[in-house]
């Protein structure tokens, strides 16, 4: 036992001196350094992020109401409970790929990969930062929705895993896509098309029964509708009953996104 402890001590000392570039301590130090680096780099985009998040969440809550001649109680409940989902999506699927594009063009992307920090720490730093950035907009959207429509929500503990999983899905899939698709123009087109699909053609702020059957079938496999389902299950009681399937679909997308990320960052080029 004592030999294990002494090995651990000498490894820790070597890590402190900067000689040993492996082990959990080194990984955690790298993560902290990468988070500082990412946050510092992102500060110039902070204004933009706040605008997009506020408008996509709180702004869309108000906007959707304008499109209806009468906002009935059922519509109001759907808009109110769909809005936090809407606020979670753009950061991962639009801002993150945009950021990676920008990094590729500036050469920062190659530079970060050349740093002596484990690439897994680099990726997880990005995940954490974007998750942190996504949550305030989500909360704001929910607040605005309850104020504007007086929606009666009953919040359950499911909301916490639901919100975390939704944000993770958006970020991992966005990150995986941005890494796998190298052409910035193509990526830009894809993320804009995704926003369009999410805002207009996804049953997030209206019931899925309003969709044609074939479109509904597509949405059962895509993440957006399932995100709305788990979030709505955390915010209301009795509307969503098939939550288990949605959680499984979302988990599968997260794993796929992580696998794509791991595959790309594990390769040399």
């Amino acid at each position: 036992m004592s030999s294990i402890a002494s090995v651990a001590r000498s490894r820790a000392a070597a890590t402190r001196r900067g000689e040993l570039r492996s082990g959990l301590t080194y990984w955690l130090q790298s993560l902290a350094a990468m988070m500082r680096f990412d946050f510092g780099r992102m500060r110039q985009w902070l204004g933009m992020m706040i605008v997009i998040q506020t408008m996509m969440g709180a702004g869309m809550v108000i906007m959707y109401g304008f499109f209806y001649p009468h906002v009935t109680a059922a519509r109001a409940l759907y808009i109110a409970t769909g809005s936090p989902t809407l606020a979670l999506i753009p950061l991962g699927l639009v801002m993150l790929p945009g950021d990676i594009n920008q990094q590729r063009m500036e050469g920062t992307f190659e530079y970060v990969w050349s740093l002596p920090a484990p690439r897994s720490a680099q990726a997880i730093s990005t995940f954490l930062l974007y998750t942190l950035l996504a949550l305030p907009g989500t909360a704001l959207a929910l607040l605005v929705a309850t104020w504007r429509y007086g929606a009666q929500l009953s919040i359950s503990p499911v909301l916490i895993p639901a919100a975390l999983l939704c944000s993770l899905v958006a970020i991992t899939v966005g990150y995986g896509l941005a890494l796998a698709i190298r052409n910035p123009l193509v990526m830009n087109l894809i993320s804009n098309a995704l926003v369009f699909v999410v805002l207009l053609f996804s049953p997030i702020v209206f019931p899925a029964s309003q969709l044609p059957a074939w479109l509904y079938d597509i949405h059962r496999v895509l993440p957006f509708y399932n995100m709305a389902v788990v979030m709505r299950a955390g915010l209301t009681s009795g509307i969503e009953t098939q939550v288990g399937t949605s959680f499984i679909v979302l988990a599968a997308w997260t794993i796929a996104g992580c696998a794509m990320t791991a595959w790309v960052i594990g390769r040399r080029h």
Binding site: V51, M63, Y64, F66, F67, P69, L200, F201, F206, Q210
Partner: protein, 265 residues
Amino acid sequence: MSDAALAAFIAPRTTVARGMRRWVRDYSSMLIWHLVSLRMWLVTLTVVQILSGVGFVLGIALFFTNIPTRAALFVSTGVPVINLLMVGFILGPQLVADQRSSGTYEYLRSVPVSRSVTAAAWYTVCLIGGVPAMIVSLVVAQLRYGLPLDVSPMIVPAVLMTSLAGTMLGYAIAHAIPSPMATRLITQLGVFVIFGFAPILFPLAQMPGWLGDVNWWFPFRHMAVVIRAALTSVPDSTVTQGYVVLAIWVIASAAAAGWALGHRR
């Protein structure tokens, strides 16, 4: 040596072209320059414009169990306004912001053509990028919803004025605001405003009264009024007022852009 002889010695030995002929020549070369340098961008843009216009026209039906004709009519006659605004008001300023970041902006300013020529050529590009998508959106809307459309000849001035006001406003944002990031922020906000916070895609009565009043001071509400009046036979008493407000916006934006482009730094 007299002053005149000295001037002749220094000045390049060529006649300086002025007047209408020079203007037209510069205009056509600037237009060709824009079309050639943006050829890929314009093709992609037209496709995206058509897809998003058609997508909006079709997608709005999903919001309702049975879409009322009035809602379909407002969306279908509002989408053309958005198509016309997209290039001049949203993408144009972002293009200029990118040019500022990459240095092309300084180069373009050094080209010896007048400011009115540059603006006119850009306005033409905006029309080229907007009108085809507008027509396709309207045709699709008509096929999908069978709307009571009644296109009058007033559509020509309505389209020209709407696009001009949007383009000039975008022009002012692009050139009078020096920071590329601020330009991007404003246009990003603009996207949300034209889709949801201005009564373009839905009736004015469906937004709170105070927000409608705020919109009176901005051009978007009036653009929707003049376009809708030209596309339908629904009488609207505010059309003349709409043209006046749009004209004021055109003059104010052109003045702001002209001032920003005119002074030395």
